[in-house]
Symmetry: C2
């Protein structure tokens, strides 16, 4: 892990960009140390495009005493193009624009290779981040790409609580993985999310094996999570990580 | 409204029992006045049986600055027996013990006459309570018998926010009423509630016409609402009533 830039956003928040091998990432740390770490679920549109939303979440988390970090997904942002992923996205766009049902095969091609490739990268990032001074366990996960959050919750024992956002396609295989999740979960569902299958989200919530799992469903579309729902998710992480 | 007893539970909480005509009720008021009022959804098992849970909610609400009140349902507790309601409950018990599906006719007979009779009583209680010194608007509703909460949310303009507990049978007619609800709602659903139809609860949540409505689903049975879910419901009421 190599830091590539550093700037202080305000007295309470230091932002550092880094690379982990070829993978770009961002780390935000609060004034208080050691800080527990929240991995921010990866932005499908890339770090640069999603930066304003990411830094807003980093600020909020820092106010609660958390460090936050995020890395770029394979094939996103400035990372090398990934032709198979691009084909899968193009296939999805085509059937959605044609108003056709999105098949399991398309969802599998879109999500499974991404999760298989991203999960080890996130674990490697966790190794590097936890070795930094000022970062101390426990670790939370919070954000999108619910299939990656599910995979990490199963394979990464250092993650002890997760906020998952039910807003993306979920392969059938992930429902099976979900049964093996045991950490406390807080699942956000936008009830009228135009691009999301509500029933699939409810089925996935049902499938999670965790003894403590909470579903918060709110009105509005994909990006319309109300402020009070963000506050509730933050309280969940504070409750489990501090 | 006639007060029948008064005792101070602690420095911050005064408990008074009252009768409104023949209907018994309890009013809890905090030290601070004027206090906004929360109507505690009525206990199907009667005020006396449910007193420990009611007073716990009254204490919590008083700590948040709220007065709370509850009245006995028709046919419950010490109120005169109501043969039709007893028959409906016996019919329900019979089909449930036989493991048969609960028909719409049984649900209608169980719930609709109760709501028709209780709703005007709750409105009369609200008239009396709001005329007391120390009680000031706005008013919230929080608790069980979701069909009564729905009816009150539609017909009683003084109620400005409601916490509803999805844990009882809901007649089809109430789904139509739900579309006319416009106040902010916070719906609690116990995901594994043995006596509750989860899909019906989700359908009812979907039916509510409110622009702000939130569903909080948690693990556990009917009486297993986790502490943090109670806290979240309390925050919802504080956000809307103060």
């Amino acid at each position: 892990m190599r830091f590539t830039s550093e700037r202080r956003l305000d007295e309470a928040l230091l932002e550092r960009t880094f690379t982990l091998g070829e993978i770009p990432g961002i780390l935000w740390t609060p004034a208080s140390a050691p800080a527990p770490l929240i991995l921010l679920g990866p932005p499908p549109l890339g770090l640069h495009t999603m930066y304003p939303r990411l830094v807003a979440r980093a600020r909020r988390s820092a106010a609660d005493g958390f460090a936050t970090a995020v890395i770029e997904l394979p094939g996103s942002g400035d990372r090398p193009r990934w032709p198979a992923a691009e084909r899968a996205r193009a296939d999805l766009r085509r059937v959605m624009e044609a108003g056709e049902p999105v098949s399991d095969a398309i969802i599998d091609a879109l999500v499974l290779p991404l999760v298989d490739r991203a999960a080890p990268e996130w674990r490697a990032a966790l190794d590097a981040l936890l070795s930094l001074p000022g970062i101390g366990g426990p670790v939370g996960y919070s954000g999108g790409v619910i299939s990656l959050g599910t995979r990490l919750a199963v394979v990464e024992p250092r993650i002890s609580a997760a906020v998952l956002f039910a807003g993306s396609f979920v392969p059938r295989a992930v429902f099976e993985e979900a049964r093996r999740v045991t950490i406390p979960l807080h699942v956000l569902l936008q009830w009228d999310d135009e691009g999301n299958d509500r029933q699939a989200a409810l089925d996935l919530f049902d499938a999670f094996g965790s003894e403590e799992k909470t579903l918060h469903a709110n009105m509005g579309g994909h990006t319309g999570v109300p402020q009070f729902a963000g506050d509730a998710a933050a309280r969940f992480l504070t409750r489990h990580l501090t």
